[in-house]
């Protein structure tokens, strides 16, 4: 069996370098299951929130937060 025949479906040998077959990348967006999309997005967001916490103790909202209870004068 030749090397080309051993490659998994959708992978081509481009002068010794393996790449996704461009012929199957003409459709955009590529099909992905809801589970896959959910996993990718959740992982990225989790990472980005971690990055925020790494750079500062807290991130301020765009407007001053209202105090929980009205301040009593005097």
């Amino acid at each position: 069996m030749g090397d080309q025949e051993r490659l998994p479906p959708g992978v081509v040998d481009n002068d010794g370098h393996y790449e996704v077959d461009p012929a199957i990348m003409t459709v955009y967006p590529q099909f992905a299951t809801d589970f896959e999309v959910d996993r990718i997005v959740k992982a990225r967001l989790e990472y980005l929130y971690w990055v925020q916490r790494h750079f500062a103790d807290r991130v301020l909202p765009p407007h001053a937060e209202e105090p929980d209870e009205p301040q009593q004068a005097g």
């Binding site: 990348m25 459709v27 590529q30 980005l48 925020q52 807290r58 301020l60």
Partner: protein, 503 residues
């Protein structure tokens, strides 16, 4: 292999570092010819070193450099190898000194607020170690999670937070450096390694920031510390046109806020790219044609006051605040652009592409000219070569400790690396040269942060450094590296030796 290293030389290197830290196996050498910047695979092996060594101490580095100098073997220091201009890549084989094992923290000084390190530690890791002390080292390139401080010294790096905290040149206080002859020098602002400003003698430190491995190997750094920010406020504002966003940059930049860390303009092509290949996986509203992003860091009270002023400026300039989720998470993704999705468009197809980024330092007044010309150049090459894609432009505030003046300008080009043949590689280097020429035509600098050592723009170094500057570089190179062993071929510095030979 280039065959510049004999079996006897390898044996001497083993005497210095031991067998475990001297690599001659093909995989270990080839992987050290690799950098993120796209490069034709068929040329890859041409730029592999003959041998790789992984020293752990200054004494070992000295012994390696002295051996290389005695035997006239090319020697290339390599840190994280995340640079985009091939500084860590040998052009003539020889020895690659992979410094990643020199990663110890030597002293955290919470009295004089410095940290002294072996320089091959990553900033993210360093800041995790510093966090319990309530301090941090705020150097923040787009490669923050993966780049290494000795590489940042080699490129004289730029920081996303530079308008608040300065850049590498501002925050490296002093360095221990092994020169190409094997001599060890301490360079800083003056005398003591923790002194921030001195008027004694020349400020030699700056000579070794941005040297791209051509002047020696940094073996120790003393760095500035800052209070860890209590608070951060990022805000993204959308505009209906590039011109609206461009005009809005000025009031943000001149807002007189000490906590302002950066102002960034995204052009319409960048917004389009983010819409189709989102780096943060957050949809951009369809009506937008440009974005201005700003961020403030500091104490809670200061950042709250800055937040109010920035929100007011956004409103007064016609900007549409894009919400907390987009502002926080897209800003977070700016710290880590090496996670960019890596797929682009060739004709009507989506294909896997590698990312490359061309940069320049340009004054505010010239940004529209450079934007127009760079896109014209990119589009011209894309029309002729299906391996390129235009991923848009960014404009980042570039001035240390202030948001105005000049800007780091970047154009991201997707490159279908697997298809890079001689013809398209030649086209790519010509595109880089054309882009660099526009930067010079605009009175700018070829590079604000990446360096200019790569094929293409390197040809224009003597043009930018005119009126004797490049000649002085040649003299300094020959003085410090008499045998041209340190990263030979870079920055056109070989001319120092050719001119000397010709009298």
């Amino acid at each position: 292999m280039n065959g510049t290293v004999t079996r006897e030389a390898v044996s001497e290197l083993v005497d210095v570092c031991g067998t475990q830290r001297v690599v001659v196996a093909p995989h270990g050498r080839l992987i050290r010819a690799m950098v993120p910047a796209p490069f034709p695979f068929h040329r890859w092996a041409d730029e592999a070193p003959d041998v790789v060594v992984l020293p752990e101490t200054t004494e070992e580095v000295v012994a390696i450099v002295k051996l290389a100098n005695r035997l006239r073997i090319p020697i290339v220091p390599r840190a994280g190898a995340t640079g985009l201009n091939d500084g860590a890549k040998p052009m003539r084989g020889g020895i690659v000194v992979d410094t990643k094992r020199m990663n110890r923290v030597l002293e955290i000084d919470t009295t004089d607020w410095t940290v002294t390190i072996q320089p091959s530690i990553n900033m993210l890791k360093l800041n995790e170690l510093l966090a319990p002390y309530g301090v941090w080292y705020p150097d923040d390139p787009a490669s923050y999670p993966v780049s290494i401080i000795s590489g940042r010294v080699g490129t004289g790096g730029w920081s996303l937070l530079g308008s608040r905290y300065g850049h590498v040149r501002d925050n490296v206080i002093s360095m221990e450096f092994v020169l190409p002859t094997g001599d060890v020098v301490e360079v800083g602002q003056g005398g003591g390694r923790k002194i921030r400003h001195s008027s004694t003698g020349y400020r030699l430190k700056d000579l070794f920031l941005g040297h791209q491995g051509t002047l020696g190997i940094v073996t120790e750094c003393t760095l500035e510390l800052y209070p860890r920010p209590e608070a951060e406020f990022p805000a993204f504002f959308g505009y209906q046109s590039f011109e609206d966003g461009y005009r809005a940059m000025q009031p943000f930049s001149r807002s007189n806020l000490a906590t302002l860390a950066g102002v960034i303009l995204f052009d319409e092509r960048k917004v389009e790219y983010l819409r189709r290949d989102d780096e943060a996986y957050i949809p951009e509203p369809e009506s937008l044609r440009s974005i201005v992003a700003v961020a403030a860091y500091g104490s809670g009270g200061e950042v709250a006051a800055a937040r109010d002023r920035l929100m007011r400026i956004g409103s007064e300039t016609g900007g549409r605040y894009l919400g907390e989720e987009l502002s926080e998470l897209d800003w977070a993704s700016r710290h880590d652009r090496y996670a960019t999705p890596l797929h682009g468009r060739s004709r009507d197809r989506a294909v896997h592409m590698s990312w490359h980024c061309e940069d320049a330092a340009i004054t505010y007044s010239q940004l529209p000219f450079v934007k127009r010309r760079w896109h014209e150049i990119a589009d011209r090459y894309i029309a002729e070569h299906e391996v390129f894609d235009n991923w848009g432009m960014f404009f980042y505030s570039n001035n240390a400790y202030k948001g105005w003046g000049d800007y780091l300008v970047e154009i991201d080009i997707g490159i279908w690396e697997q298809r890079l043949d001689e013809r398209s590689w030649h086209a790519w280097t010509q595109m880089k040269r054309d882009i660099a020429q526009v930067s010079l035509d605009a009175g700018g600098s070829i590079s604000a942060c990446h360096g200019a050592t790569r094929e293409g723009e390197v040809d224009l170094i003597p043009v930018e450094l005119k009126d004797g500057q490049f000649d002085l570089m040649l003299k300094l190179k020959r003085l410090l590296d008499p045998n041209n062993i340190m990263n030979p071929g870079k920055y056109l510095l070989d001319r120092a030796y050719q001119e000397a030979e010709h009298g």
